[in-house]
Symmetry: C2
Subunit: 126 residues, 2 copies
DNA sequence: CCGTATCCGCCTTGATACTG
DNA sequence: CAGTATCAAGGCGGATACGG
């Protein structure tokens, strides 16, 4: 396969695309909120999550939890009782993702004011 | 304003919402790719970015760069010549965001295989 | 070369109603 | 209580054409 072009770096282009897709999935608004809620509240029921995450619809919660389960971020535990009782908790992988996002979270907290100032200045042009 | 409820944490709920919005803005697919490209390529022209970011349309590139400029992540420099010549480079703030995202980037790289395995296992259920 | 404007299809999301 | 199904609506993103 000869030499790689000099513009390439450590990882292969296709892997880069996969990594980007993964980030896109995982950086979703609802996923972030659910992740946060599971981090601070520990194992919780579907209804508890629905109440805790502001503005999420049942559909989006189900969809988000399914995707997270499929990606190995959460464990879904069904207790076969009536009425149904389903618990969700983070996996080790899910936890590690939460930690990885801490950096972004801190950045956003630390620089929110700066961004707001920048926006005001920009909007006041002309 | 008396005591805060015991379930609250360091930041106020409204700030939390603002922080979430900010993350939503900044975690956008195209923003991430443009940020990456500016990190590794330094100051570049509009056309160079258009060529470097795979699959982006002119419209999305313009839109993304405007939003980043407004948020104080990039500096736009117009050289008043014919034909026009416009350069973009990261601000300190933009650079710091790139560093904050490194954690997520590394997580995605390190755990891509694990996620793919989880997905395969999930899809093979039943 | 850089950017704006317009149109249009599609995908995501929310609301609602219903089942186990 | 937890989840699915259906439908309508809105926004996002792409293609194209044009302006400075």
């Amino acid at each position: 396969m000869a030499n790689q072009p000099i513009t390439s770096y450590s990882t292969a282009p296709e892997v880069d695309a996969l990594v980007n897709d993964l980030i896109g999935r995982v950086a979703d608004k609802w996923t972030l909120l659910v992740l946060e809620q599971l981090e601070e509240g520990g194992e919780q029921r579907f209804g508890a999550l629905a109440r805790a995450v502001p503005g999420i619809s049942q559909k989006m919660l189900t969809q988000t939890l399914r995707a997270m389960e499929r990606d190995g971020l959460v464990i879904r535990t069904v207790h076969p009782v009536i009425p149904p009782h389903v618990d969700y908790r983070l996996t080790t992988l899910g936890h590690s993702l939460g930690e990885a996002f801490c950096g972004v979270w801190h950045w956003a907290e630390a620089n929110l004011a700066a961004v707001q100032r920048s926006r005001s200045a920009f909007d006041a042009r002309d």
